[in-house]
């Protein structure tokens, strides 16, 4: 395109303090959404490797029966930190990072609405992540599972109330018995739980601030002509995700605050001996936790909806359905939380309600899958690395979605809850789903972020290692769960029929690790090469590909005018422009 060399002569005047000439300080103090985005992405990747190492510890311990590769205490820390980090320090910051980088570019804006609040969001994330990482170093890492169920999380000291005098004798005895049980190790006296609660509260506040920035940016800063129904689907999904974050994360912060008050102010929110209720914790946690799983998947849906059309050479099938089913999922995700609690003895009506609502949420999810399939149907498909990840995403996410519907049937759930079947379900949605979508996105947008295309051959090797590794690791876990293997067990005896399946699963994990190494090598070699990527290396449709790779500080010389959901297509094919095909419903702004 003719705009290729425009930027070389382009100067941006900014008042820059002298010390900004040191690159490190420039990065630390930056409010540029692209730099902050990249900082998020690197931070998240480092934590991905950390949590991956923990996963390898878990799988090594479970590879053979009666193993003691690590001790049980470390095993507890490993699975707790693995889950907590993968969600809060890997997938969430990855989406925030890509959102930061891409949303302003995709909507044709020069910046975000609140650059400084955005920066604060990143630094809060860094603090939360540091707390988690340091806890590993000092040996006080969280060890109570990523959902930190009360009463296990209560500190022993608070179980014996200082004011037991006001209780009747029988109740005092009950309370004393409860805390005696605590003294035998039922409760968590160390710092571990405090680390978890504090770090997650900090991360929660970070996400809320970031979301506010996303929402206002998307609502107020779109390029002229970009109506809400012409926004790229990734932007749509970031918008829905941001709303989920501002409405779901307060439940987590509230729950974590009550937990800290119980532990340090002697309160009794979750203590049954004092008319508190451990189930209250589960309600608070899962009313955050289920929206959270959609926070983890929706941006991935968005990426897939950008990538599939480009490599199929077609527009997305049923744009409006893909967008609005995302909104529907957002609303419904607040109505299903107690499907995580079927086994605790909820009233029958509640079980029926949450079972039905969980099945209903599969409907808008299914709508998206049919739209994606229709998009690739009869397309001129280019099997690039991003496309391979995207196609595998569809396949594997269907498996995860179906096992989700299976466990939302209450009697089935009674049977498989807290077993490896659930572990298989959520890894099919979060690893085989979200993480595959993420890698599709990484390969797709890498040239935009860095000016360099990742190597396709190494990329394909990475893909096949991931595809085989993921399915080898997680498919057998369905069967393990049905055979009765509980999740989070430290080890198991031989002769239960679990051994070979566990061994397969562990081998899969090593293959995944090899995939990560190939990816890091690919990154390492690519980043050293000269930045030669063109503006639009994939022949794409959306505005981020209108500007150079990487974009200049102010993103665009001239803010483009948008007339359809595929502005770059329109620009490249004026005769076949999307907006010519049917009379525009919205008035077209004149240039």
């Amino acid at each position: 395109m003719a705009t290729e060399n425009l930027w070389t002569e382009h100067i941006v005047l900014q008042k820059r303090p002298r010390w900004m000439k040191y690159p490190i300080l420039a990065w630390i103090t930056t409010t540029d959404h692209k730099k902050i985005g990249i900082a998020y992405i690197y931070t998240a990747f480092i934590f991905f490797v950390l949590a991956g190492i923990e996963a390898l510890i878990i799988r090594t311990q479970l590879a053979v029966p009666n193993n003691n590769f690590v001790n049980p205490e470390l095993f507890n820390e490993a699975f707790t930190m693995h889950g907590t980090i993968m969600l809060f320090m890997f997938l969430m910051p990855m989406w925030t990072g890509f959102g930061n980088y891409l949303v302003p570019l995709m909507i044709g804006s020069r910046d975000v609405a609140f650059p400084r609040i955005n920066q604060l969001g990143y630094w809060l994330l860094a603090i939360g992540g540091t707390i988690l990482a340091l806890s590993l170093v000092i040996g006080e890492a969280p060890n109570v599972g990523w959902f930190a169920y009360a009463p296990l999380t209560e500190a022993t000291a608070t179980c014996l109330s200082q004011s037991a005098t006001i209780l009747s004798q029988a109740e005092t005895a009950a309370a004393a018995a409860a805390s005696a049980a605590g003294a035998q190790g039922c409760f968590s006296a160390g710092l571990n739980v405090d680390v978890w609660a504090v770090a997650l509260s900090v991360l929660g506040i970070s996400s809320i601030l970031t979301s506010i920035n996303f929402i206002v940016t998307i609502i107020k800063m779109r390029a002229p002509g970009m109506t809400i129904n012409r926004m790229p689907l990734f932007v749509w999904m970031m918008l829905v995700t941001s709303f989920l974050m501002i409405f779901a994360l307060p439940s987590l912060t509230a729950g974590a605050s009550l937990l800290l008050l119980d532990r340090h102010m002697g309160m009794h929110w979750f203590q049954a001996a004092f008319q508190g209720d451990p189930l209250l914790w589960q309600h608070l946690f899962w009313s955050f936790g289920h929206p959270e799983v959609y926070i983890i998947i929706l941006p991935g849906f968005g990426m897939i909806s950008e990538i599939l059309p480009v490599f199929s050479g077609k527009p997305i099938f049923g744009y409006a359905f893909v967008a609005w089913s995302g909104v529907a999922i957002g609303f419904l995700s607040f109505t299903v939380w107690a499907h995580h609690m079927f086994a605790v003895g909820l009233p029958l009506v509640a079980q029926a309600f949450f079972s039905a609502s969980s099945m209903i949420i599969a409907v808008p999810t299914g709508v998206k899958i049919f739209n994606w399939l229709a998009t690739i149907w009869r397309g001129r498909i280019r099997f690039t690395t991003p496309m391979l990840f995207a196609l595998a995403f569809i396949l594997q996410f269907v498996v995860g979605g179906l096992s989700g519907v299976v466990v939302s049937v209450v009697p089935v759930d009674y049977q498989v809850t807290d077993s490896y079947f659930v572990v298989a379900h959520f890894h099919y949605v979060m690893m085989a789903g979200s993480t595959f979508a993420l890698f599709a996105g990484i390969y797709y947008w890498f040239p935009k972020l860095s000016g360099r295309l990742l190597d396709e051959r190494l990329g394909k090797l990475h893909f096949w290692l991931f595809f085989i590794g993921t399915n080898l690791t997680f498919f057998p876990q369905h069967i393990l769960g049905l055979l009765g293997m509980p999740r989070r067990v430290y080890t198991y005896p031989s002769g239960l029929g679990w051994s070979s399946l566990n061994f397969m699963s562990s081998m899969g994990a090593y293959i995944l690790a090899a995939g990560v190494i190939v990816f890091v090598a690919n990154w390492f070699f690519t980043i050293r090469r000269p930045a030669t990527a063109t503006t639009d290396p994939w022949d794409a449709y959306t505005l981020e590909w209108v500007t150079t790779s990487p974009p200049p500080p102010e993103n665009f010389v001239e803010i483009p005018i948008v007339r359809s959901a595929r502005p770059l297509w329109d620009l490249k094919h004026p005769d076949q422009a999307d907006w010519r095909k049917r009379a525009p419903r919205q008035p077209v702004p004149q240039s």
């Binding site: 100067i11 005047l13 609405a113 409405f247 307060p250 509230a254």
Partner: protein, 199 residues
């Protein structure tokens, strides 16, 4: 071809909002998120209360605090919304003196409210660890008190800035922000007062 532009100038020019400012939207979503936080606390409180049957639970042998004194305190907090409103109105007309007086008065009423709350805490017959009644009472009122404290600090900062003449008819976003925040904290208190003391 060479273009020389200032990044800020461009952003301002192209996106200067028609209608509400960015900051206004930002505050709305921030307060929405805060509202969900308090909604969670209230829901947790009601959950325990319904399960306990009697409230405070019979085993705790307590009576709920009298609403009278706190009711008066509530009226003081509600009254503080008026000077806040007039302060914000004043600055839109360029009346800086009105702004300063309004902010000062609001902060003063807020501080009186906090004093009342502190007095109540000291004289209550129960503490946060006495039983679940105390836990819920101090958590709900305490989180609100923390918000009022933050609000008073925010008001005082605006008050000082107003004395120094930082605000003008066209540039006074902090005043709008503190106004929104303060009305929000007031509204939350009405709900908390009704649930904790009256219901």
């Amino acid at each position: 071809m060479s273009t020389v532009i200032s990044q800020e100038a461009l952003t301002e020019h192209e996106h200067e909002p028609q209608g509400r400012s960015f900051g206004w939207y930002g505050m709305v979503f921030f307060l929405a998120s805060e509202a969900v936080f308090f909604a969670n606390l209230i829901a947790a409180y009601l959950y325990l209360r319904v399960r306990a049957g009697a409230w405070p639970p019979t085993v705790e042998h307590l009576t709920r605090p009298e609403p009278l004194m706190t009711g008066i305190n509530t009226l003081i907090l509600l009254a503080s919304s008026f000077p806040m409103h007039f302060a914000a109105r004043a600055i839109t007309k360029g009346d800086k003196r009105g702004l300063t007086i309004g902010l000062g008065l609001t902060a003063l009423l807020g501080a009186i409210f906090l004093g009342g709350q502190a007095y109540e805490y000291v004289h209550n017959a129960f503490g946060p660890s006495t039983g679940v009644f105390g836990s819920t009472f101090y958590t709900l009122t305490g989180f609100h008190g923390a918000h009022v404290t933050f609000g008073v600090i925010f008001l005082l900062i605006c008050f000082i800035r107003s004395l120094r003449g930082d605000f003008s008819q066209n540039k006074h976003f902090a005043v709008n922000a503190v106004e929104m925040y303060w009305h929000f904290v007031d509204a939350v208190w009405i709900i908390l007062f009704l649930t904790v003391y009256i219901l």
